[in-house]
């Protein structure tokens, strides 16, 4: 009896000692399919790391960005792992808000990360975040409608071909729009598309002296082309459409083509989410013959704020969630088609993945074509693809996005929208000290 009591006492004491040593790390993340899946699979991590407990904070992308920025800038220390884009990583790393990820473990194959993605989340050769999934942009189109229009998608389509095909595929009576593009205002919404599009038209946001370039003919060509095309072949109310709205329209068979993030390909290929899953073709982002295919490159990454008191445990989690082992875990539980795309070369070398995901090749081609160190054909002082990697871009991009969205809605002319964008950009860049 006494021995039993002693044994139970020892067990209780051990449990208390273990609880006292268990560290809880708080992870801030966005609500998308890949992140929700990761939360479901964390038993694997806690089984391997019983001394680390996980707490999740899931928020809408813009709220998360604002919330995490406030906490990191004020050194609040509320989060140990944060989900941020490749837009924030270099800016925050320069501010010393992030810890360099140098404790990811010996078996974490850093060289396996796609070079274009790795470049966007490194500063001075150090990795400040680990990519969870990556994306570029490409054309997703209805093969049956393209055939019906008597056209064949070229290997490297031009914008001229896209416009011609969109107009031919449009059938208003059958509620089919030749093309669906983002129109909702926001730096991550319509300006992602329009910045990438402008890159392919030879435009740039700024010249080498940070002078805004909206008064140049390349921007006029881009915006006029976009507005005319959407008027002739786009859906009604396109100025309110973002990624989700276009995903819905395409999935319901109401778009002939959609040019957007490569991550949409897996959703459109899923018969549960798309009624046209078996009729989709993919092609590289269009250009105008100058060789620039938009330079759209985005990754969601896990980073550790410098204010975290649990940096080592946090890095252990980041290592697990972005490792090759995690990709294999997802594949074993939910199939290869659900593996987080766009981060590791090994995934695209996997025969199983290539067999399961018809979009694997086009996605890799789109990501390889992106070069965020040279966004425009013109020499520019900034990096970034569908965004400009400076802190002022969030505010300025949204302001310009509102002006361009108004032009699409017919509330202002293209010339007025461009003039407004130029004025806003000059004012902001002067205020921020870029223009002396």
């Amino acid at each position: 009896m006494k021995l039993n009591t002693l044994f139970l006492g020892l067990c209780g004491a051990s449990a208390l000692a273990f609880a006292a040593h268990a560290e809880t790390i708080t992870i801030a993340t966005v609500n998308n399919g890949d992140m929700v899946r990761m939360q479901k699979l964390t038993d694997d991590f806690t089984a391997k790391n019983p001394d680390i407990q996980l707490e999740w904070v899931t928020l809408e992308e813009n709220v998360l960005r604002e919330r995490v920025t406030t906490d990191i800038a004020t050194k609040g220390g509320q989060y140990d792992v944060v989900t941020i884009g490749n837009y924030e990583v270099p800016i925050w790393a320069k501010q010393q808000w992030l810890l360099p990820l140098d404790k990811l473990g010996a078996d974490y194959d850093v060289d396996d990360i796609l070079p274009s993605i790795r470049g966007g989340i490194s500063l001075d050769g150090k990795l400040y975040a680990a990519p969870f999934y990556g994306e570029s942009a490409m054309i997703m189109y209805r093969k049956d409608l393209m055939e019906k229009a008597g056209l064949t998608m070229p290997e490297k389509p031009t914008w001229e071909f896209i416009a011609d095909a969109a107009r031919k595929m449009t059938d208003r009576a059958a509620d089919i729009n030749g093309i669906c593009l983002r129109g909702k205002a926001g730096w991550g919404e319509n300006m992602a598309l329009l910045t990438a599009m402008s890159n392919s038209f030879g435009a740039s946001w700024f010249d080498e002296k940070w002078q805004p370039q909206f008064d140049q003919p390349e921007w006029k060509n881009t915006l006029q082309f976009y507005v005319d095309l959407m008027k002739d072949a786009g859906p009604q109310g396109a100025s309110s459409n973002g990624f989700n709205e276009n995903l819905t329209l395409f999935g319901q068979g109401k778009c002939g083509m959609w040019i957007d993030a490569t991550v949409a390909a897996s959703k459109l290929s899923d018969p549960k989410e798309s009624s046209v899953s078996d009729k989709i073709g993919f092609a590289i982002f269009p250009d105008t013959g100058n060789g620039n295919h938009g330079n759209w490159l985005w990754s969601w990454n896990l980073a550790v704020p410098a204010s975290s008191q649990k940096g080592e445990a946090a890095q252990k989690f980041v290592s697990w969630a972005t490792s090759k082992g995690y990709t294999e875990l997802v594949a074993s539980k939910e199939g290869w088609v659900s593996a987080p795309p766009g981060t590791r070369t090994s995934l695209y070398n996997s025969e199983d993945y290539k067999k399961a995901a018809a979009f694997a090749g086009p996605t890799l081609a789109a990501m390889d074509a992106a070069d965020i160190t040279k966004p425009s054909v013109k020499p520019v002082p900034y990096t970034g693809g569908q965004f400009v990697a400076i802190p002022e871009f969030q505010g300025l991009g949204t302001t310009v996005g509102q002006l361009f969205s108004a032009a699409l809605a017919g509330q202002s002319s293209v010339d007025d929208a461009l003039a407004g964008a130029q004025t806003a950009a000059v004012r902001e860049m002067t205020r921020a000290g870029y223009i002396k």
């Binding site: 904070v57 928020l59 819905t248």
Partner: protein
């Protein structure tokens, strides 16, 4: 004839009231309907007939612990309301029954603080919370919500107290009532409808407050507003899940509002018609 016109007008007003009420309630009704649809049904277009699936509720519960958020909402909303009443009843009493020439200015100033955009003071408040270790605590959020709703509570109570004749309080004083006795045994029972409606309104305001409750919490003190926010997604289908989360979040306050509507209306119209 006059009777017929009067009846017609009555019917007209009734129909108009129903139309306005339905218009106001429709977004909530459609949220509830959408929560019983599948994600593909939810995006398929306008429809008032759901398939009746409960898959969104199941997914919402699997993804988050609703009851943890619910408990935080109850503690924060009720706590901040009680705290606000403790501060506001004496404040409103002194303003209503012992006014000075600055009373109106003070009331206006208190109300004007509600006109300031909350985001303007986000960083200072965040720093204060950080330095006092109040980030992600129920106490911190209770105090914060008490402070932001206090101007409305004081204003409402002041309006109700003004309707109570000062002579009654004078009579109580002449009968030897102390200040405490005057407030507790004379004023409070007479102002119960007003205090009750103020309390209910404050609970509703605190329950629905989203700016501070999302920004000052992470995991421990996050209420239902944070629960809803976690189901909005920039990529992928989420309308049905978001609607299910919203329905679960508003259900308690809707039920409370339904049962207490008589008190709410009586309190809100108190003194409106003399």
């Amino acid at each position: 004839m006059a009777r017929a016109v009067s009846t017609n007008r009555k019917i007209g007003f009734t129909v108009a009231a129903w139309v306005v009420a339905l218009l106001i309630f429709f977004p909530i009704l459609y949220t509830i309907i959408t929560s019983f649809k599948s994600e593909t049904e939810a995006i398929a277009g306008f429809s008032l007939i759901p398939s009746g699936t409960l898959e969104s509720y199941a997914e919402v519960q699997a993804q988050s612990n609703y009851f943890k958020f619910f408990l935080n909402s109850v503690i924060i909303a009720v706590g901040s309301t009680i705290l606000a009443l403790v501060v506001a009843v004496p404040a409103a009493w002194s303003m209503a029954f012992s006014p000075t020439k600055r009373t109106k200015d003070i009331l206006m100033w208190m109300l004007s603080t509600k006109m300031m955009p909350a985001v303007a003071v986000l960083v200072p408040i965040y720093l204060i919370f950080r330095d006092t270790n109040l980030l992600d605590t129920r106490i911190g959020l209770t105090v914060m919500l008490m402070l932001i709703n206090l101007p409305i509570v004081v204003w409402m109570l002041y309006t109700y107290f003004r309707e109570i004749p000062g002579e009654i309080l004078e009579a109580a004083r002449m009968d030897g009532a102390t200040l405490w006795g005057e407030i507790v045994y004379v004023l409070t029972p007479m102002a119960v409808p007003g205090i009750a409606s103020t309390m209910l309104l404050n609970i509703i305001l605190a329950w629905n407050e989203a700016f501070w409750t999302i920004r000052l919490t992470t995991t421990n003190a996050a209420p239902l507003t944070a629960f809803i926010a976690s189901f909005s997604s920039p990529q992928g289908l989420f309308w049905a899940k978001l609607s299910a989360a919203s329905t679960l979040a508003i259900a308690p306050i809707l039920i409370m509002g339904w049962f207490s509507q008589r008190q709410l209306v009586r309190g809100l119209t108190f003194g409106a018609v003399k």
